[in-house]
């Protein structure tokens, strides 16, 4: 209960978007206040409503999937699969990103197609290969549930609308944070918070390994996009259902040659800027031990594989990073740091009773 109260007080101590992540470049920072939208203030009732909606399978077309299908609390709100779970008979094409500390991001999804959690929340609901629910129908499905009608009336002073559904879910998502990790205590001055090996790993992270260049600040992410030329998964490229999804998304984003697309263009689909070809947003590294498999397509199964990928200078032909040449010991320390230092307290979630 104490932790719940302290979390809520963190949430209420809102500050507005305005701090540039660039200002924090080069440093890790301990956990601090969660950014909250000034147009969607946090309240306990709204968070609770958002939690119910997050776990409610009514939010999918055939009633089998909720947000929690792909964002499983036990797995730091990922689903443990290379590519995320999909609406029955379809296949997704990207890995489910963690929702831990998602409130700290301004660019959401791997390609940054939206910039607020309120705008993000309904995308998977209406996506044909995710939850596949028409949003007009979503509103009507919820409006026949008396408990929801009452809750929306009390919280928003009005009817159930898609926008308010998104606001409630966003409020709940802002409570999904990784707190009191050893790195937080270490950065606040408790030098005993990290083991000797983890401290060596920290030094590699911030020094020779150059991880800090993109993974900095509270959230260990620059919230920017980088083209590391992560390899495609040949099985995914051949899979007809994934191919259909890839082409569908490309078509929606007006990519001219969508019918022949055999790889994931990443951020390019959104900006049409060639520098963004195969660029993806830097993920948070908070709770990274729980979020395998890694990268936007889940191609790297373990942290060892991730470290090796960066150590050899990323994917073929990329110009974003160069080989690092860590030795075996250094790689070991780096992994100890990632696992030990960045794993916070268990988020004690009270599961909601769905009306």
């Amino acid at each position: 209960m104490q932790r719940r109260n302290s979390l809520l007080s963190l949430i209420f101590a809102a500050f507005l978007f305005g701090v540039s992540p660039a200002a924090m470049a080069g440093h890790l920072e301990p956990f601090k206040l969660v950014p909250v939208s000034d147009v969607n203030p946090q309240t306990p009732d709204k968070i609770e409503l958002g939690k119910k909606l997050f776990f409610d399978r009514r939010l999918s077309g055939d009633g089998t999937m909720s947000c929690a299908t792909c964002h499983i609390p036990d797995l730091a709100f990922t689903d443990g699969q290379e590519i995320s779970f999909s609406y029955p008979t379809t296949k997704n094409w990207r890995n489910a990103p963690t929702l831990i500390n998602v409130a700290f991001f301004r660019n959401l999804f791997h390609d940054g197609r939206v910039t607020s959690l309120e705008d993000q929340a309904l995308f998977p609901v209406m996506s044909s290969f995710e939850m596949n629910l028409n949003l007009d129908y979503l509103e009507e499905k919820l409006r026949v549930v008396p408990e929801y009608v009452e809750a929306f009336g009390k919280i928003f002073g009005g009817a159930i609308t898609r926008e308010r559904v998104a606001m409630a879910i966003a409020s709940f998502e802002r409570t999904l944070v990784s707190v009191n990790a050893p790195i937080d205590r270490y950065l606040k001055g408790d030098k005993s918070a990290l083991s000797a090996d983890a401290i060596k790993g920290y030094e590699i992270f911030t020094g020779k390994g150059k991880c800090i260049e993109c993974h900095y600040g509270v959230n260990l992410s620059d919230d920017k996009f980088h083209a590391l030329n992560i390899q495609e998964n040949p099985d995914h490229q051949k899979d007809p259902k994934i191919t259909a999804t890839r082409r569908f998304v490309a078509k929606v984003y007006h990519y001219e040659d969508y019918a022949n697309l055999s790889e994931d263009p990443g951020r390019y689909l959104i900006t049409k800027d060639i520098k963004d070809w195969k660029a993806f947003r830097t993920p948070t590294l908070r709770e990274v031990a729980k979020t395998a498999p890694y990268m936007h397509n889940g191609i790297l199964a373990t942290l060892d594989e991730v470290i090796d990928f960066f150590d050899r200078g990323g994917g073929q032909g990329n110009t974003a990073i160069k080989p690092i040449n860590l030795n075996t010991e250094e790689k070991k320390y780096l992994k100890v740091f990632l696992v030990e230092a960045l794993s916070g307290e268990d988020l004690k979630l009270t599961y909601p009773v769905i009306p």
């Binding site: 776990f55 009633g63 909720s66 929690a68 299908t69 499983i72 689903d79 699969q81 779970f85 599961y351």
Partner: protein, 132 residues
Amino acid sequence: MKEYGQKVRLVIKFYPYKYRDFARISAGAALAAYDQGKFWEMHRLLLKRSPKLDQTNLIKYAKEIGLDADKFRESLDTRKNDGIIERDVKLALSLDLYNTPTFFINGRRVIGDVPYEYLKKIVVEELNAAKK
């Protein structure tokens, strides 16, 4: 089960989804088939024929796999195995389960319709741990 034989044991619990019209009666059908020694035959048929799982169709399926249709119907009509289903639902709720299927492999919770290889990896890890 084929791969690991006696080394693993599968226990099924029922958690009929309350928004599905025929989830509850289908659980009853599986248990009625169990009473006649043909649980797996019915289980497979239920998955194959979903969503056509109303009572008329269930009785048809019972005949198809050679069950005594009168006994099967009686079991559904009298809700003979409701106690078992209720017990399982209570268990699921007490474990905060929100999704079907959910697996527990030696206590490790795996949520969702995960690929076989994902389950196999955990089974292998648990078998190895049990050897130590």
